[in-house]
């Protein structure tokens, strides 16, 4: 699965934000930010988004999604 997360003011908060978002889908087995892109180039300050690819386990049948 792929999710987008706003870049946070610290790397620690970014980690927490990603884990929180992924937890809504299941238990993460593996994730990585694969790219950073500007969400809106015209906005001030420019908002950056992290694109995260992840593999999560869905609890109901232990299947890997």
């Amino acid at each position: 699965m792929t999710i987008e997360v706003d870049i946070q003011e610290s790397v620690g908060r970014l980690h927490q934000a990603i884990e929180t978002r992924l937890a809504a889908y299941g238990a993460p087995l593996r994730w990585a930010i694969t790219s950073i892109e500007s969400a809106d180039e015209s906005a001030e300050p420019v908002r950056q988004k992290a694109y995260v690819e992840a593999v999560v386990v869905v609890d109901r049948d232990a299947s890997v999604a």
Binding site: G12, L14, R30, I33, V57, A62
Partner: protein, 366 residues
């Protein structure tokens, strides 16, 4: 005299096409070199596994990727061991002859290397491994019957007291895809690695036990243009020996700090992490970045596009692993890397900026 052992983590993410370490254990020379200049090196199967080839490094710890992420996050510790009793799981989908090849390889590690293996278990269903490639170019995969895998592992732990788990799953044969050709010639992404990682991650997450995976495949036709970086996977019938060697001394996971023994290593005992400069978005490096010196290696290119500065990591950039080794030596000697360069800027008074306002906000009057 050292006040504490200097501990480094070497990361080369799996299945992202790393120029060094993206093939058949081809980051092993890097691990061997780094291990000579640190007290403890923590790294993962993708770095140390060279199919039939391996190198037992006395001060290196073989930690599966999910466990490494938990270590980095401060959730788990690792406890060094002298030897693990290894349980072996075979996917039911493996043909009898191919399974026998693997069993003979396992027996060879007992007789020739002295490893300690338990009796093996065959899964009660074919695992059904499927390979996938994500939008970024990274590889991953799924298994159709994860429950069957977990039952097999549970049997080994319960009935043979296995302390580490080696899994051999039948992976789909490739009849000559472009991705395979590229990989064999040392320029593509490992099409199997991402799925292998998912399998071992699931077991480590569920049982908190060391685990690694070897794919079972039929031999490929001879390729005269085979890259040296991929060649280790084409010199035998199985990829299992390196996995068994790694697991035989893989540290055990400790999930409760309150009852951990003195020798347990936690994230706060890690001094440096070495990672490809374009792959700084993984969970482990993001976890460690605020407390550990990150060394970003530019030369080890990957399919990822996440540099330290993009995610707010204050890293030391180096061009090569040779340079990274120099940074590690300087760091543990307490020498600023800047002092080793020809131009050293003079100290400047800290800009006033918002610090005074901050003090006022919290009630200080100077």
């Amino acid at each position: 005299m050292k006040h504490r052992p200097y501990t480094a983590i070497l990361l080369v993410p799996t299945g992202v096409g790393a120029a060094i370490g993206g093939y058949a254990g081809d980051a092993l020379p890097v691990a061997r070199a780094i291990a000579r200049v640190v007290d403890r090196l923590i790294t993962h199967p993708n770095v140390l596994n060279g199919a039939q080839l391996y190198w037992a490094i006395d001060n290196a710890f073989y930690v599966e990727g999910y466990g490494l992420d938990q270590l980095a996050a401060g959730n788990w510790g690792i406890r060094p061991v002298h030897q693990n009793r290894i349980g072996l799981v075979f996917d039911q989908a493996i043909e009898p002859e191919l399974r026998l090849r693997h069993l003979q390889a396992a027996d060879a590690t007992r007789a020739t290397l002295g490893l300690n293996l338990t009796d093996y278990v065959v899964t009660d269903e074919p695992l059904g491994v499927e390979l996938r490639t994500a939008a970024s170019g990274a590889t991953w995969g799924t298994i159709c019957h994860p429950d069957s895998l977990l039952r097999a592992v549970d049997r080994l732990i319960t009935h043979t007291q296995a302390e580490a788990i080696a899994i051999v799953a039948r992976f789909p044969d490739d009849d000559g895809s472009e991705a395979l050709q590229d990989y064999r010639q040392g320029r593509g992404v490992d099409p199997l690695a991402g799925a292998e990682a998912v399998i071992s991650h699931l077991v480590v997450k569920t049982f908190q036990i060391p685990c690694a995976h070897a794919p079972a495949l039929l031999p490929l036709p001879l390729d005269p243009n085979l890259s040296p970086r991929s060649a280790a996977e084409e010199i035998g019938y199985t990829f299992l020996p390196c996995v068994l060697v790694g697991l035989s001394r893989a540290p055990q996971f400790v999930t409760n700090r309150a009852i951990a023994s003195d020798g347990t290593i936690w994230a706060d005992g890690v001094d440096a992490v070495i990672v490809p400069a374009s792959a700084c978005g993984g969970s482990a490096v993001v976890s460690l970045a605020s407390s550990t010196q990150v060394i970003a290696v530019a030369e080890n290119t990957t399919r990822m596009n996440v540099t330290p500065d993009q995610v707010g990591i204050d890293a030391v950039w180096v061009e090569s692993y040779l340079e990274a080794i120099g940074v590690l030596v300087a760091h543990q000697a307490g020498i600023s890397v800047a002092a080793l360069r020809p131009h050293l800027a003079s100290l400047q008074q800290l800009a006033d900026s918002n610090h005074g306002k901050h003090l006022q906000d919290i009630g200080c009057r100077c």
